[in-house]
Symmetry: C2
Subunit: 676 residues, 2 copies
């Protein structure tokens, strides 16, 4: 028995998968299991990896609030409301974000092995809510990738230099997803640094813009509002319209719900605690707070600046406003200045890279579900770089399907967006309420109250999203969630069945049958050692040197060997029989099975039926002689019965298939010692 | 040894491929090899099967001649030429057809086992010309299917009732090819009757039309010519233009070359002599003559009628003439009459079914090439219905690719059409010239002269086609022909290499090694019978009941067994070692192979290297325990290492793979006797 290698730096060449240059180029050198700690993330890198999604939403959340309010014509009819509401709504969302973050802070410490909504819901509310949360989150991650990529592509292709590519938004989107997929298969530590650049750049420039804009003179004050008023035909909105009571409430709620898209991505950090360096929980919690502070600051700052400058966003007749970030940075930095371009480029890159947060969250959640046997086991396999490779590939494929199905359109994808995320939030926080009630502990009432408030608020947002976006696409997400939960349960039942059939109870040791079987059988020679006797059949399509090793092997494992020839072409049989008599003789009898309908499978199966009936206690080994040629395409040139025969044999209990190969390239088809 | 079944009607259930209802519905009951004679074709059925392609060309050959002459404006400038030339050209083509038919008549008797251009060229001119003829013919058959289907679809979708489908010509074409493919897999005898209907209907109605039109009063005389003259703006063609000398010769040659598309399909009968009933040669030759007589008669009649009625065909400005057959039948029968519609429908169906001639010719030629080892052997396999199934499927796939690549457009496909066919004609007739010169015999000079005349004439047509259509698509055919010939030769070399490696010379009998190997090795127990000792390795991912049959099997075939565990997850190893000690014990040692990079393949291959070095004279058997679940999709739920391990093992000389399966659905995973 070889010694177990346990050195600090094991010899790669001995242990890794046979490497090929493409694999090395795409994925880099593999990392040893023992070096897992090296792949853990420092906070500075973890922030852009896990928070780029959340932070990127500050680039569009304000805009979406202004869009809802603007579409109601508020900027024309009730300027005082239009200038007060956005900040009020932003403050409310930031407060909700604070509640959610506090909840997840508590969750990170309560579930340091990585949990998020699935674990919290499952442990506190039961399996079904847990699976619903898991399904909703998986879908949410996929949609996030599709939306981020689609919006990033829209921004990229919006630049004049790339207008020629505008038709190819699906192709460009797919290419970006493939690139993200490969980057993530290389591992987060190596890609983290790449993601850090645009995230920190965006944060820095946006902060500078907010500071300059808010502290500087009110130069551009109401410029944009006046601009739009000038462009629109007079009387588009009647100043006598009144917005009050329920209508105002509905409008505010709608703007609030839309602005809540800022909160997607919050889940990722709680789900990925094990990816952080020790002390994991503390580092993850601090990263979560950093993320929340940055997001809140940018979101509040951008909304305040937009209000100060009187920005209007929306489609007014044929006039479409520039993006809010565009309006703000061109006013503050001056259109065409270096900082304006830096801001634009950082925004675009951040939107594309925001998809990467899902690449961190999805595979980890899938691995947790896999560990609990709700999804296929392969999703828990770690690849060369200790990442969950199959989850990364699955996420990429699903996102590519979405991009293609919705033709890369952000407008069509958006309705799928918030539903999954807010389902997970609500279940997670309801679970935390139950957690405190069950576990109690110091100040449990206050903690439960905070989580309860969060659960009610996110449930309200969920309800608004579900009702308002139902026909636009939320129904797809609901159907997909239910389908996923049904699938999870079916997979679980299967694994449970397999485990029950395979498990070794205390009473089922492996017994070597030490007494020869007493049952009378017609085997000419009892096999050595008292084991079940072995009847060996060698399939012989024609007699050539490639058959010899198979015959030799058959004789080496049993004294009861026969050669079987299926008579597809009767005219070839006499020659075979003659050659057999001359070259092989009577040591191995040759059985000719007639096949009047030229089927290979039918006669073989019929003969096996007969053998297994006559020798019920025997193992039957079918030896398949194969020859291996020197080039892969040669396989197409030889009769393709092999796979079919193997398939039908593999469906028969009691039959062992042995493949004996003859290598055309080797002298005499045998290995020369040490030549391998 | 069971008796060879040789009854007149063998029991299907015992011998056929395990049948499923879909297979039965699509392809019908299989036919026994012994009943092959039943599938031979009567002449009445053989004619539509092999001649529908040739006969269908009478539906458009006249039209193409008129198109060439009309495009030159001849009907406006030189009415006397326009009324004389078509019949002259038709007579010339019919004369050429007669020469080709006489040549093939001689070929059918000279090569009764089926030959056509490939055999004739190969035997008389050498391998390379033979392969060129074979490649050209294969391509010609594929193009014929694509052109026939595309033109049939164009006709079908041209009817007002189906205008809605006009956008889907590619889809309809692909569907028709799939339908033809299935019909041919069912066998020619069963589909022949279907094809007979439109062929004979077309012949009958067209004959009636020609007779009525030529013998009746000249009612519609020059009606169409006058119509077109009225529609065109005056001065489109100047009546002072003169067509004379070389220009006239070029025009006539061009019209002649275009009209020669009438001759495609002539090859099929000579290629398929064995499909006919006895006496095969005589029946085939008579069918060939019947075909030639019908085609010549219809072609001459339709041209004569068109000339008599002054038909003009072509695109004149924005005006496109109706098809010539349409013009003729509407004039003779009256537009809207029952016979008019019968004529239209029979024409459409015939054009679609013309593709079927290729379905008879291509698979037979491919099988002949396969017998000579120039194409993969699978193309010589006969399916349930004694047809060359793989050839039929290959032809269908190639034609579908063409239809898709050329978007179902007849205009784009036509330039590919004649080149392959005329290459084959030329080579075949040149071969026949050589045949007579070599063989002599009665009246050999006359025979060689006839073939020589044919060779020169078809070579001239070939030259005209190649030059004129080169940029329009003939270059594709030329490139494809060369590529096919190169492929034929590579495949032949491979089969030759394999045969040389595998053949059993007089000096290579199968010797049972009767003396134990003298080489010292470390095997603990020499195996019984003096064979090469067998080292057996059982791969054990974890210990469960599914592993037990594999361990038992390993012990039954050798005393030198080891279990191998690849340590992907080190945390699971202690439990495995403990369970092994309790349940299996020391009978089979458990070897743990470290895998610091979580690769399954690397450590396994490294260990095999070591074993094969230490025991150079041993066979190494790797036993793979597998469990078989109850539903096919369960395969996705278990670790997918199996196929990868099998692939890498299959690349190693000296290693035998044995699959031992445990059936979850069976009690204790074993077969109950007779339960299969």
């Amino acid at each position: 028995m070889p010694d177990k290698a346990n050195t600090a730096r094991p010899d790669r060449r001995r242990y890794i998968h046979p490497i090929n240059p493409l694999r090395l180029l795409l994925f880099g050198r593999p990392i040893a299991t023992a070096h897992a700690e090296l792949t853990r993330l420092r906070k500075l890198i973890a922030l852009p990896v896990f928070a780029s999604d959340a932070i990127s939403s500050s680039a569009y959340a304000t805009q979406e609030i202004l869009l809802v309010l603007g579409a109601a014509g508020l900027w024309a009819t009730h300027v005082h409301l239009y200038k007060a509401l956005p900040l009020d709504i932003t403050v409310a969302i930031v407060a909700l974000l604070a509640i959610v973050v506090v909840s997840y802070w508590q969750t990170i410490y309560a579930y340091p092995s990585g949990g998020g909504s699935y674990i919290v819901s499952k442990q506190n509310l039961g399996a079904s809510p847990g699976l619903v949360a898991g399904a909703a989150l998986l879908i949410g991650y996929v949609v996030t990738v599709a939306v981020s990529i689609a919006s990033g592509v829209q921004n990229i292709l919006g630049t004049p230099a790339l207008h020629a590519l505008a038709e190819h938004q699906v192709g460009v989107g797919v290419a970006l997803i493939v690139a993200l997929c490969i980057a993530n298969l290389r591992g987060l530590t190596e890609t983290g640094a790449v993601f850090a650049v645009p995230t920190y750049l965006f944060v820095a420039v946006a902060t500078l813009m907010i500071a300059l804009g808010l502290l500087g003179p009110s130069v551009g004050h109401d410029l944009h509002l006046q601009n739009v008023n000038r462009t629109l035909p007079p009387g588009t909105y009647h100043t006598t319209d009144s917005v009050a009571g329920l209508a105002l409430l509905a409008l505010v709620l709608k703007a609030f719900a839309t602005g809540c898209s800022a909160m997607t991505g919050t889940e990722a950090i709680a789900n990925c605690v094990p990816e952080f360096r020790e002390p994991k929980s503390s580092n993850a919690a601090r990263t979560l707070v950093m993320m929340a502070v940055i997001l809140s600051g940018l979101f509040l700052g951008i909304t305040a600046l937009a209000v100060k400058l009187g920005v209007v966003y929306g489609h007014h007749g044929h006039y479409t406003s520039p993006a809010v970030i565009d309006q703000l940075s061109s006013t503050v930095f001056g259109r065409g200045s270096v900082l304006y371009y830096v801001m634009q480029i950082a925004t675009m890159m951040l939107l594309v890279f925001a998809a990467n947060t899902s690449f961190a969250g999805f595979p980890r959640l899938a691995a947790i579900l896999s560990r609990d046997r709700f999804v296929p086991r392969q999703l828990a396999n770690q690849g060369d770089k200790l990442v969950f490779s199959n989850g990364i590939v699955l996420l990429s494929l699903a996102a590519i399907v979405l991009i293609i199905a919705f033709r890369g359109s952000v407008d069509r994808l958006i309705p799928l967006y918030a539903f999954g995320v807010f389902t997970a939030f609500t279940l997670s926080q309801a679970g935390m309420v139950r957690h405190w009630i069950t576990k109690r502990g110091p100040r449990w009432v206050a903690k439960a109250a905070i989580n309860g408030l969060g659960a009610v608020a996110t449930a309200a947002v969920l309800l608004i999203v579900a009702v308002e976006k139902f026909t636009a696409g939320a129904w797809i997400v609901i159907v997909a969630t239910v389908a996923l939960v049904v699938m999870f349960r079916a997979i679980y039942r299967h694994y449970d069945f397999v485990r029950s059939r395979l498990s070794i109870g205390a009473g089922v040791p492996f017994r070597r049958p030490s007494t020869p079987d007493a049952r009378p059988d017609r085997s000419p020679a009892p096999s050595a050692g008292g084991h079940r006797p072995n009847t060996v059949l060698v399939l012989v399509p024609s007699l050539h040197r490639g058959v010899y090793p198979a015959l030799e092997y058959a004789m080496s494992i049993s004294r009861d060997c026969r050669a079987i020839h299926i008579e597809i072409d009767p005219s070839e049989v006499p020659r075979l029989v003659r050659e057999w008599e001359v070259n092989v003789g009577e040591e191995i009898p040759l059985v000719i099975l007639p096949s009047p309908f030229r089927s290979f499978i039918g006669p073989l199966m019929g003969y096996l039926d007969q053998v297994q009936r006559e020798r019920a206690n025997h193992i039957v080994t079918v030896v398949l002689p194969e020859f291996v040629s020197t080039k892969w395409w040669h396989g197409f040139l030889h009769n393709a019965n092999g796979p079919l025969v193997k398939y039908y044999l593999s469906q028969r209990p009691g039959v062992v298939i042995a493949n004996v190969r003859y290598f055309l390239g080797e002298p005499d088809g045998e290995p020369s010692p040490g030549s391998v």
